[in-house]
Subunit: 241 residues, 2 copies
DNA sequence: CTCGAATGGCAGACCAAGTTCATTTTTAAA
DNA sequence: TTTAAAAATGAACTTGGTCTGCCATTCGAG
């Protein structure tokens, strides 16, 4: 009873170690050869575990590639928002902050290879999008109190779909070779566009698109939402802010 | 050369016949025992074809259960809308009409058992939702000309998500035992709610929900959009219209 | 320190979905 | 009737995933 939790037990450590090894080997192999071209037997062999053991740690092959792809906790963001803020304001603020923040080069590289792997495999895309589904349900649950189940479900669906699309186009741009800087700038615009559409509706798309933008009920930072060039795939440098 | 195309050739007819037989056998078995509890070998055996033949006709087990679940042709509806109508008006009109229309008892029964089968199997739900994905892409494609790729993708995503949710809740109500009449009435309300949200944005949800409803830019029929009770799961009979 | 109980890992058999391919049957047309 | 294309077949094979029984390690208590 003297020393209880050195590092939480040898057993736990070994287990964690094994999990890491499997995950690492798997991502490396997926990155090198693509999701479909790698078999779980090969992964198990390379990680020096039995197939049964591998499936002890990861329920499916997909889960090996989606390690840690939880997405943002939409429901949490909404539930924990400061008093007086609407739920859309809270979400907007969150994504605005995200777009503004920079990611360390190395992390971004790792993230991007994973995204590439995912987007190359329909099976993985499905798996990823059904991860999002759970979040949508959670968000709907929270909004139900205020708006009733049907409206809440509709809102949650719209929000989740928007954010997923946002993410998709952002990653696509990065994969197409846009610089992180460039992509970040475009993302910031798109976040505003996205939430403007959500808040004011598709009917007012003109306004959002033509940058009247008197909207933006919550504007903690000026954040001028540069008028989107959008149509030209090579935005003129004039928008360098 | 005397008789060329009696009914487009014996070959074709037999083929079609085989396809039908497989599909019919499969849906029956799925309905009886559930998607996961039926193996393709059993289906093949029951339909008196070889497994290889079965997979000649249907690429996956899922496709056997999703026969004819194409969903509505969103892109087509928008593309073929009469001049002067906005794309949202066109979609709203379509779904309004759908909600108003009645379905023959027998068809509805068949549809419902299929829906039940689908909703009982995660694998099938995934397959179904990736069917919708293609429609979303098609819709986005059409809207791109007018709004640019990003806004179009966002709009299409919101619309598709809304309509899918609409469908989901409608079916859920039917499966929970609501009468077709009752469900149809609620659906009609929800269609309006859904499009109001899309048109005017979540911020104006209050208006939509509290039934100010000065909106509805296109109103071919008065279609009074009964103020949604929504919160009470047993709508009072007063809304019998 | 030792003993017994958990626990982790293992090998291999097994199952179902789907593919491949060589072979046979059926149909269309000369 | 002959012949070539198309359809169907069955059997072997691949792959993801499960199950079972066995061995080795770790843990906790005496």
């Amino acid at each position: 009873m003297v020393i209880v939790n050195r590092v939480a037990g040898l057993r736990e450590r070994k287990k964690e170690q094994t999990r890491q090894r499997i995950a690492a080997v798997a991502s490396r192999m997926f990155a090198e050869r693509g999701f479909d071209a790698v078999t779980v037997n090969e992964i198990a062999e390379a990680a020096e575990v039995a197939k049964a053991t591998l499936f002890d740690y990861f329920p499916t092959k997909e889960s090996l590639a989606l390690q840690g792809v939880g997405g943002d906790d939409l429901a949490g963001i909404v539930a924990r928002r400061p008093a007086g803020q609407t739920f859309l304001e809270a979400l907007r603020a969150h994504y605005r902050a995200f777009a503004a923040g920079q990611m360390p080069e190395a992390d971004l590289d790792k993230l991007l290879t994973r995204v590439r792997v995912i987007q190359d495999s329909p099976a993985l895309q499905n798996a990823a999008s059904s991860l999002l589904y759970q979040q949508r349900q959670a968000l709907a649950q929270i909004l139900t109190d205020e708006y009733g189940p049907t409206a809440a479900a509709l809102m949650a669906a719209q929000i989740a779909a928007s954010l997923l699309t946002l993410q998709e186009t952002h990653f696509k741009r990065l994969l197409d070779g846009a610089s992180a800087q460039e992509a970040g700038r475009v993302l910031a615009q798109d976040v505003e566009l996205s939430f403007d559409l959500l808040e004011h509706g598709l009917n007012h798309a003109e306004r959002a698109l033509t940058c009247a933008h008197e909207a933006s009920t919550t504007t903690p930072e000026p954040s001028p939402t540069i008028c989107s060039p959008e149509r030209s795939s090579t935005p003129s440098k004039s928008g360098t802010r």
